[in-house]
Each structure stands twice: as C-alpha cells, then as structure tokens.
C-alpha cells in the first residue's frame, strides 16, 4: 500500500487543534488533532471517532483502529500526546494457527473488530499515520468489489482471539452510523436495519454463559441497583470509591468522551443498549423522578438530541458526518434508537445479555483504571450483593422484560444528555451518581474481565508482561525457512519419515473399511458405541483411526454423514489417569475443571438429553494406562456410550489383545462389548508394499534392498516404523559413502545391511574389545572364578583374588583393591556386569550381563 513508506522519509508534526476540552492535572482531553506532513500542504485532521491507520511493525500493513479519545498525559514519560483506540485486526495479524477458524478466504480489504479487552489500547498519538475508511457490513453482505479505494476497509466479523463472531448488532449500528458521512459507503436504511436485525445470537448467548459463571461480577454489578435514593447512593459511591488520581482520570475520561459531540452520539447509542435491566430498576417505578419517564419527556429528549447536534461546533467534517442523518428526518433517528431495542428485547430473555456492549465500552474506559479498581470497591459491596441479587430477580420477574426495556430506552438518553448539558456545573446534578456508578461498574467489570480471560492474543499489541500461567503454549517460529530437499535421497528420506502421512494407508484397507463402517453407522443412527482396537506398536492403529476420521470429516462436509465432534486423548500424555476427564472436558467445551468436577460434568452431559447435539467421536489412545484400582475411568468411558442421549462413539486403542479379559472387571468389559479389531503385525510383502507406495516415482532404492529390509523387519517385529527408520538411515549411509554429493547412487543392500547392523546389533562385543587391559583381565578373572565355583555369580573378593593371580601371571603390575573396584563399577555402569550397590564393598556380588561365550569370543579376538 502506497501511503506507508512516506512515513519513514517525511517528518510529521502533531498538534492539538483547539483548546483542551477538559483540563485536569497532567491530563487534558482534546477532540481533534492535526498532523502536518512536511512537503504536503493540507493538514490531516484527526478527530475522535474517526478510523485511523497506526504505525506498526509492518510498513505494508499498518494497524487499523478507531480513535476513541485524544488526550495529553503529562505523566507519560516519552510522548505526551496520547490516544485511545479501538483496534481492528487484519487477517494477517490473526495467529496463523487460528486463521482456519474463519472458515473462508478473507477478502483483501477485510478487517475484524478486535474484541479483546486485554489488549492495550492506549497508544502514542504520534504513531497515527492518517485516515482510513472502515465500512461495517452485515455478515451476509458481500464486500463491494467495485470500490477500488485502498483506504477503505470492511468489517464483518469480530475476533476475540478465540473465534470469529458476527458483529454485535449495537456495535454494527454504531459503526454504520459513523460511516454514514461517507457518500460512497452510504447504504439504504433498510439494508442497515435488516443487517442489524439479523445478528446471530450465539455471541450473546456465549456472553451470558460467561457472565453467569462469574458470580462475583454480576454481584458487584448489581449492587448499585439497591433501591436507595440517588443522593444517598451518590454518597455511598463517593465514600466507597477510592479517590485516587487514577479514578479521577477515569471519571474525567467519561466526561470527556461525553463532551465531544461526535462522541456523544455514540454514547447515546451505547447507553441505549447497555444494561437495560440493571439500570431500569433503581430509576424504575420506585424512586426515579417521574418526569423522566413520561413519554413527552422522551420526545423532548429526541428533540434535545437533535438540538444538541445542531449546535455549531468548531470541527467541520466530523460534525457534518454525524449530524446529517440526525437532521434529515426524525424517522431515521427514531429508527436508529429503535433498532437496538429490538436487540434488547430479544436478548432480554436472559437479563444479563446486555452486558456485552458494556464490555465493548469497557475497552474505551481503558486500562489505567483497571489495576486499582480491581479490589476495593468490589469488596466493600460484596455483602449486600446476595440480597440484591434476589431482589433484582424478583423485580425482573415482576416487570415484564419488554417494559423494562422500554423504560430503559426512554430514560437513558435523558441521563446522558442532561449530563452533557450540565457539564459546566459539574458534579452536583442528579445524573452524576449514575454516571459514577456506571463508571465504577465498568471498571470493575473490566478488571474482572482482564483477570478472568486468559490473555491469548497476538504478541504485537501487548506490551504488558504476562504471567506464565496464562502464557499461550507456542513454539517460536523459525528464522530461516526450512530447506527443501535437494536431491533424490533427501526427497526419499522426507517421504520415509514416519511423520509423512501417505495419501492412503496401504495394507490396512480392510481395517479401515470396518472402522469406517462402524463409526459411520453410529453417526447415521445417532447412537453411540465402543470399539476396542489392539495391535503391537507400529502396525498403524492410530494412523488408521486418523484416516477414518479424516474421511468422515470430509463426508460430513459434503453432508453425507451428520456432523460430529472429534476428540482425541492419549493415556500417555496424562500425568495421572483421572486427568483424562479434564482433557476430554477441555476439548469438548473449552472449560477447565478439576478431575473430579470434570467427571461430574461429563457424566451430566452424556447422561442427560441434550437438544439435538451432534455426535462425539472420542479416541482414547493407550487405554491400558487409564487402568485404576477401581477401574472407574474405563467404566465411565464405556458406560457413557450406552446412554442413548450421549451420542458418543468411543474408539480405544491398546497394545494387548486380551486387555479386556486380563485387566478389566466383568462389568467394564461387558460394557465394552465385542466390537474388537486387532491389527496384525505387517508381513514382509505388506511392508514392501508400504515402502513402495511411499517411494512412488522415486528411484532411490534397489528393489532387492527394499525386499531385504521388509523381510528383516517382518521377521523381527513387523513394526512399520522400524522399517521406515532403517530405510532412512540407509539413505544417510549411502550419502556418506558416496563421494559426489550431487549424484548419489541408489541405496543398495549393502547400505541397508549396514543400517540394520547399526541399529540392531548388540554392542557388547565391541565394548569389551575396546575396554582397557585391566577391564579385560577383570572379565577374565570373572570367567575363571565362575569356572572354579561352577556358579554364575561371585563376590567381588573372590574375583579380586583371581584377578591378582591373573595379573601376576600376565606380568601386569599388582592391581590395588581401589583400582579393581573402579574397574568393576565401570563395567557395571556400562551394564557389561550386573553388580550390587558398591556399599557392599568386598561382598558385592558380580554377574555377567553377557553370555560367557561372547566374553570369551571378544577377548580371544586380539
């Protein structure tokens, strides 16, 4: 993109456009900033609410963000001009491993709303490069291709480091509103309303879940709804709220954001949707001033809103943009206020749904407040929280949801507008407590959020250090790209690596078909079942299961079989058998729990009727390690599929064929059933076929060589891994032995034999041959002692006396006891000898770990 490189060459001057909106110690808020670029005449005006490009690591793709606030902070050491932004994220900034979650190819100009509160949004204002257009689109809209402007981005989805979600409707409306000034992107009102009406509610539901699980959060948030008079509440707030520098800033932030007209509009949009149920209560029937609730008043408010917009303000383009739609017709403005309500009504099935927008606001309320807001206010309020919670529930039941929403809608704009009207008076007006309160709850909320969510995110935007507990397990990516294979042998080696998954699994067609049929039938019938797969290592058990699952997943994408969820656990990867529950639960739902709790949750999940849940396929590798005294784990694993509602298919893998009979109690093996499959070790022809299929069209091996290795391995173990490893080693030996690196010859039988020799020959004889003179004579002494006593075991003392005699005979110097002991323990550490611990000293017993003949052979050879 063309606009970025200029950044490096030209100097830019940043200056505030007008007087600070609000002035506190070390902290002034502005609404506009101008950037003067040397050599270019028109200054760029940056205003709050606009979308901007921000300098990043990558000059080609600067960060995109929305300006939320501009301010000057004297306490900041380097740059005093600061800005708060709401980030957008490009597809290329999404971690590579998560990119597949999008499920489609991103459009070139597509960006995502970065819904991740832990991300630092306080930036240096001087890193802003310039304007950019961001257009919000409904999820089903196509990105207009005719707009060839590079400076226009499109938002369809939001990204929260876990998944892509459609934009929440409120957010969408807000974004849509902002872009309205731009004639190119203007769309019909219908389209907009349509798009706002059709949000997917999965996001909201998710939020609800999260919030429900977080009792403390909701409690603390509910506290303010305790019915007291606003005055009293205000005092309470003030006394409980720690009056530190930071809180003042935060308060002020909210002030400041209210004061800029362009911002204000958005605030209205926000507050319409935020926390309707919660806020409606204290100000609802009981104690709020009646004037506020009357419909005329509401009308006035609309008026007021419009008037406010009409007020002349110094900044040009920005105001125009926001004001135009508001002035056009009251109809549009009404519609705008209505759309969120629809959302609210829908969501009001679960009262706390509306927390979601609050979350977004949280990000604007910003970090500096977070750390200190975490503890104190929350703790003070906890006592009353339970009581309030109950009361609130009652009220909710009492008031209809729609009603409360209605009131909410009427009420909140007033609050905000009166707040902005009374900005000169400061503080004492009735709306203030509400604002402070919302501020507090917001802070609390943000702190909760930050503490509860695991900050897994793109590393670029997090300057703050993270605790290792929350670190994302990830291996740093490599600096140099992996090299491609240069010659035939390297290519062959790559294909022969066990990890190179072949397109099909030769010689396991029958097993594959059986397993496929089994799982497919279970999927089609919506039932569950178990299967036990056994076979010695390296016979392709796990590979076959993976292949089956891969095929089934393809089939389910083509709608041939119903969709299913696949989970894999490996008994070897667990530190303790019961951890298997934790792993299953985590992969199933993403929740973490203790083993005990996870077992309960899983049992509940699989034993109760879920509404049209998709089938789960669970692969349990290395089943024998899940054995416990009570066998409760195996019992559960095989018991769950028997429940009709569970829809669970369990595939278990172990090495031994008779594991169910040998290890399991009757009640466990009975549940496992008789669906068994056993993988026989590969025969030599099968191994040969495997090798040939891997080396297809690659002439690296002699045919005889392949046959040789296949026969060798088949005779030994029938382990395909061994077969591949031998071949791989043989290519290496071939490469070593051949002098011209460019054109290595074929791998011959000789190379393969060498590889086999290297891998399987025991090295005892070479070890004996290479041991020192004293070690060899000690071995001789052992043999002599064995022959003398006729036993296969002798004490060190006996061997020592033989050793001394031998040395005298051979003319070696007299070996001292210490020397001989060292020799003995040396041989013991190589395991040529089996010796007792050396504290037994003279009495330690010595045995040979090699046959006597081997020792004799090795010693004679000189």
């Amino acid at each position: 993109m063309a606009y970025c490189p200029t950044r490096l060459r030209t100097r830019q001057t940043y200056s505030w456009v007008d007087k600070p909106l609000d002035r506190k110690l070390h902290y002034q808020t502005y609404k506009e900033m101008s950037v003067k670029i040397e050599g270019r005449l028109p200054e760029i005006d940056l205003q709050v609410g606009q979308f901007v490009l921000i300098e990043g690591d990558d000059d080609e793709n600067p960060y995109v963000a929305k300006l939320v606030e501009l301010f000057e902070d004297d306490s900041e050491p380097y740059s005093k001009k600061r800005a708060r932004v709401q980030w957008f994220i490009r597809f290329c900034e999404v971690p590579v491993c998560k990119q597949h979650l999008l499920g489609r190819k991103p459009d070139a100009q597509e960006i995502f709303w970065y819904d991740y509160p832990a991300c630092n949004s306080n930036i240096n204002a001087e890193t802003i490069i310039g304007h950019v257009q961001v257009v919000a689109l409904a999820p089903d809209e196509v990105i207009p291709m005719d707009l060839k402007n590079e400076k226009t981005f499109f938002v369809k989805l939001s990204w929260n480091e876990k998944k892509f979600k459609p934009l929440p409707p409120e957010l969408f409306a807000q974004l849509d509103k902002l872009q309205e000034g731009n004639p190119r992107c203007q769309k019909s009102v219908e389209a907009r309303t349509k798009s706002t009406e059709s949000p997917s509610w999965t996001t909201a539901e998710r939020v609800v879940k999260r919030i429900e699980s977080r009792h403390s959060t909701s409690k603390s948030r509910q506290t303010p709804s305790h019915p007291v008079t606003p005055r009293a509440r205000k005092r309470l707030e003030l006394s409980s709220f720690p009056r530190t520098h930071n809180t003042r800033i935060s308060q002020q932030t909210s002030w400041a954001s209210l004061e800029s007209p362009g911002r204000m509009k958005r605030k209205v949009a926000f507050s319409e949707i935020t926390s309707p149920s919660k806020r409606s209560q204290p100000d609802g029937p009981q104690n709020s001033s009646p004037a506020l609730r009357t419909p005329e008043k509401a009308g006035e408010i609309q008026q007021c809103c419009a008037e406010d917009d009409k007020k002349p303000s110094p900044d040009g383009c920005m105001i125009l943009r926001t004001r135009v739609p508001a002035l056009k017709t009251t109809e549009t403005s009404e519609e705008r206020t209505l759309t969120p309500i629809k959302g609210g009504q829908k969501s009001s099935v679960v009262p706390s749904v509306i927390l979601k927008p609050e979350n977004i606001k949280t990000r604007e309320a910003k970090e500096p407040v977070q750390d200190e807001a975490t503890s104190t206010p929350h703790r003070i309020r906890r006592k009353s929280s339970l009581l309030t919670l109950n009361r609130m529930r009652q009220q909710l039941r009492f008031l209809g949801n729609s009603k409360s929403d209605q009131e909410e809608e009427e009420f909140l704009p007033v609050a905000k507008i009166s707040a902005s009207d009374s900005e000169e008076e400061e503080a004492s007006t009735p709306p203030l407590p509400r604002r402070t309160r919302s501020n507090v709850s917001r802070n609390l909320h943000s702190s909760m959020k930050s503490s509860l969510q695991t900050p897994s995110k793109t590393p670029k935007k997090t300057p703050e250090p993270r605790t290792p507990r929350h670190a994302t397990p990830r291996i740093r990516s490599r600096n140099l790209a992996a090299q491609e294979p240069a010659n035939v042998l390297e290519e062959a080696r790559l294909r022969l690596h066990v990890s190179a998954v072949p397109g099909s699994l030769p010689c396991r067609e029958q097993e594959f078909q059986d397993m496929y049929n089994f799982v497919e039938s279970k999927l089609l019938d919506h039932t569950g079942g178990c299967m036990y797969i056994s076979g010695v290592p390296g016979t392709g058990k796990t590979a076959t299961v993976h292949e089956v699952i891969r095929c089934l997943q393809q089939a389910s994408q083509a709608n041939d079989v119903p969709p299913f969820q696949y989970i894999e656990v490996n008994g070897m990867e667990l530190t303790e058998p019961h951890q298997v529950y934790v792993q299953i639960l985590q992969r199933l739902t993403g929740h973490r729990a203790t083993a005990h709790h996870a077992a309960e949750l899983l049992a509940k999940r699989f034993r109760t009727r879920g509404s049209s849940r998709e089938t789960t396929v669970l692969l349990v590798d290395e089943l024998d390690l899940l054995w416990t005294q009570k066998q409760d784990i195996m019992y559960n694993l095989f018991d769950w599929p028997t429940h009709k509602e569970a829809r669970l298919v369990v595939l278990t893998i172990a090495n031994t064929m008779d594991l169910p009979e040998r290890l399991m109690m009757n009640r466990v093996s009975s549940r496992l059933g008789l669906t068994r499959m056993s993988f026989q070790p590969y025969t030599h022809s099968q191994l040969q076929q495997i090798l040939v299929s891997r080396l297809k069209h690659l002439k690296a091996f002699e045919d005889d060589a392949i046959q040789l290795v296949a026969r060798k391995v088949a005779a030994l173990s029938g382990d395909a891994r061994r077969c591949l490893d031998i071949c791989r080693r043989a290519t290496e030996i071939c490469e070593f032995s051949c002098q011209k690196p460019d054109s290595p010859g074929l791998v011959t039988t000789a190379h393969l034999l060498e590889a086999v020799e290297e891998m399987f020959s025991s090295s005892y004889i070479t070890a004996i041959k290479n041991s020192s003179v004293l070690e060899q004579s000690f071995l001789r002494a052992i043999l002599a002692e064995f022959r003398r006593s006729g036993l296969e075991e002798a004490t060190f003392q006996q061997v020592y006396s033989q050793h001394v005699a031998l040395c005298r005979m051979e003319g070696l110097p007299y070996p001292t006891m210490s020397e001989t002991m060292a020799v003995c323990s040396h041989l013991g550490s190589c395991r040529l000898l089996l010796v007792e611990p050396s504290r037994n000293d003279l009495l330690l017993r010595v045995r040979l770990n090699v046959s006597q003949d081997d020792v004799l052979y090795a010693l004679k050879e000189e």
């Binding site: 397990p473 070897m572 070690e775 110097p813 006891m817 190589c830």
Partner: protein, 401 residues
C-alpha cells in the same frame, strides 16, 4: 647489572609459568567445547548431520549416544551444539520431569514442521528418564518426533549398553533406533600423542620462543622411557581421557618455579597417587590394638573359611595372643577392646552381616571383615613401629596354638 637483568628475567619467567599453569589447568579441569575431538570424528559427523537435518530441513529425529564414562559424550554434544547454534537456534534442556508436561506438549503440538523453530532436547543420563513412571516424557518426546509437528531432535546420552531393553515397547517403537556408540578405541600410540598435545602450548601463546622451548621439553618427556612406562600403566587401567587429565592434573600440582617442567618422577608419583589403595591407607592409621583385632579377624576367617564372626570370638582370639606374648601388647580391658572394635565398624573395615534383631547383644552381633588378606599384609608392612610379635602373629596363627 647482570643480576638485575636476571632478576627481571626471572620475573618474566614466573609470569609465563603461572600463565602456562593456568592454561593447562583449564584444559584439564573444564570440558571446554573448544578442545579437540580425539578419535570420535566419525561419530561427530553423524551427530552433526542429524542435528543439522532437524535444524535446517525441519526433520524430526531421535538418537542415543552410548558410551562408557569418560568417553566424551557430553563433550561431543557440546561440540555439536556449539557448531550448530552459531547459525541456528537451539534449546538445551537438562533436568527433571516437570509437571507442566501438558503445557510443553501443547506448545510442541501446535507447531508444524515448516514454520516452527526446531527444538533440540538433550537428555543426559537417559537411562534415569526411562525409570520414570510410564516413561511419559520419553513417549511424548518420541511421539512428537514421529509427527510433522514442531521439529524436534531428541538426543539421549547414556552409559548403559542395554538401554533399549529399558524402554517400554511402545516407547521403543517410537524411538528411531539410531545409536551413536562412543568407544575408547584409541591405541597406546594415539594415547601418547594426546598426552603430548595436551601438554603442549598452542601457537597463540605470546612468547613464541618460550612456547617452543617448552614444547621441545614436552616432546622429550614423551620420549622418556619411564614416562612411557607410567603412561602405559595408566593406559592399562583406563583408556579414557578423563583419567589422563586426572593424572596430568596431579602431576601439574608438583610443578614449582624452581622446577618449572614436569618430570618423569612427577608422573610416577601422580600415578601412584591415582592407584593407591584407600583402605590400606586407613589401616596404616590404626592403633596397635586395632591392628591386633584385624589380625585376629583374619585368622578367624582363615580358620572358619570366611564365616562371619562376632566380637566375642575376636576377643578370645586376641586374648590367646596376649596370653602368649604378654610383654608385647598391653592386656586391655574388654570394654576398651570393644571400643576399638566399634571404631573399626565406624571406619567400615568390618560391617554387620545384616540387620540382625535389635535385641542381640553387641558382643554377639555377626560381622564380616571388609579387608582382603593381601591388603592386610601389605598394610602391615608399611605400618610404622609395628611390634615384631604382632607382625609374626599376622603371618601365621597356627604357631601359637
């Protein structure tokens, strides 16, 4: 004038000498990866190829380096890592089986072979990892090396030749079976050459003339007959370079400013120090009473054919001797003799047969002597001021019956 000159000359000499000492000590004490590879070039080439393929091609590998102690396993791997990490990144993990296994696994499984940074795992004393429960760590590391996830190279270092038998079959199946054997396969001429190289100064030394002169001396030292004999003797005991370093270190300690070069005598002395019998040394420091008790035990062993004995038997045997030769050894009270007996037990020259019941009286607890007859006789010969009667008694017990 001349005296002053010689004085300053001396100073320079002393400074050089201390520098030489420092260089040599560093060479003998630290396993620096800069030292030369002696006789393991083939293995080194194998290892470095393997690591390079992981680092450059992103191919996962596993291998074992097997060799007896002092054969240079760690030196080899350090050498390889030093050469490798110059261009590539590497991770070195020594240590125990951490409980954040799952974290590691997740991290390793997330990567893929093209983009992730390769990791090299070096498991020193590999056999001890095989003793972990279920061999979880080994299974997982080898398993990762079998998948196209993060490229890993798992290198195990061990002394045990039977290491593969320790692995569980599913772990064994996942291990690639690549073994690099390090044997001390050098012959004596090479050993002598290494000895020479280890003592010689490199060309980097500031004073060329000094270094040359010294190297000449080393050359002549290595040609010395007695030196070769000492080295041959040492070589017979143990072929590894670590024991050679040990010998040289001991010899180096005897170098003084007045005698700035290592001599054959130094080496002989050092060799004796290396091969000294530690128990004979202890025996030499015992009192006459304790020596008498040991001789009594020796006789008991001869008479009862290595059967265990108890204090009472030893005391009786000792009494017999004292009654015959009352003038040579003072007849100690029984409690004093008991004390001496216990002292011997503390020195671990005798040890109780096994944990007999606690109720047994100390006098009747069965004991075994942890000294060989030849050891006793050798020690007695060197024992200072040993009464002749005692010495005679040691040679034969029957004469006194």
């Amino acid at each position: 004038m001349s005296s002053r000159k010689s004085k300053s000359n001396n100073l320079i000499q002393a400074e050089y000498l201390s520098r030489v000492q420092r260089i040599l000590r560093e060479r003998f004490c630290h396993q620096s990866p800069h030292s030369n590879l002696f006789g393991v070039q083939v293995q080194y080439k194998h290892l470095i190829e393997l690591l390079k393929r992981t680092a450059i091609h992103g191919e996962s590998n596993s291998a074992l380096i097997i060799g007896p102690q002092g054969s240079g396993r760690t030196m080899l791997i350090n050498h390889a890592l030093k050469d490798l990490i110059e261009g590539e990144e590497g991770v070195k993990i020594f240590g125990s089986f951490a409980e954040n296994l799952s974290f590691l696994l997740e991290a390793l499984k997330k990567g893929d072979w093209t983009s992730s940074c390769p990791a090299i795992f070096i498991l020193d004393e590999f056999d001890l990892f095989a003793h972990h429960k279920n061999q979880t760590l080994l299974y997982n590391l080898f398993d990762i090396s079998q998948f196209a996830q993060t490229p890993v190279a798992v290198i195990g270092l061990t002394r045990r030749l039977d290491i593969l038998e320790l692995l569980e079959k599913r772990v064994k199946s996942r291990f690639s079976h690549w073994q690099i054997h390090l044997m001390n396969s050098l012959g004596f001429p090479q050993y002598l050459k290494i000895f020479k190289e280890q003592l010689s100064l490199s060309a980097v030394f500031p004073d060329k003339i000094f270094a040359e002169k010294r190297n000449e001396k080393v050359q002549s030292l290595s040609e010395d007959r007695s030196v070769q004999e000492v080295l041959q003797k040492h070589f017979n005991v143990s072929k590894n370079l670590r024991s050679l370093h040990m010998l040289l270190r001991l010899a180096l300690n005897r170098v003084t400013p007045s005698q700035p070069f290592m001599t054959a005598a130094d080496l002989t002395e050092a060799n004796q120090q290396c091969s000294v019998d530690s128990k004979a040394n202890i025996v030499r420091g015992l009192s006459v009473l304790e020596i008498c008790l040991i001789i009594a035990m020796k006789h008991l062993n001869d008479i009862y054919e290595e059967k265990p004995f108890n204090f009472q038997m030893v005391y009786n045997e000792f009494q017999k001797f004292v009654q015959r030769r009352a003038h040579s050894v003072y007849n100690f009270e029984k409690s004093v003799v008991m004390k001496a007996f216990e002292h011997l037990q503390q020195l671990e020259l005798i040890r109780p047969l096994e944990r007999t019941s606690v109720n047994t009286q100390r006098e009747y607890q069965l004991m075994k002597l942890l000294l060989d007859n030849t050891q006793i006789m050798n020690a007695l010969q060197k024992y200072p001021n040993c009464p002749t009667d005692v010495r005679q008694w040691a040679t034969s017990s029957l004469n006194w019956l």
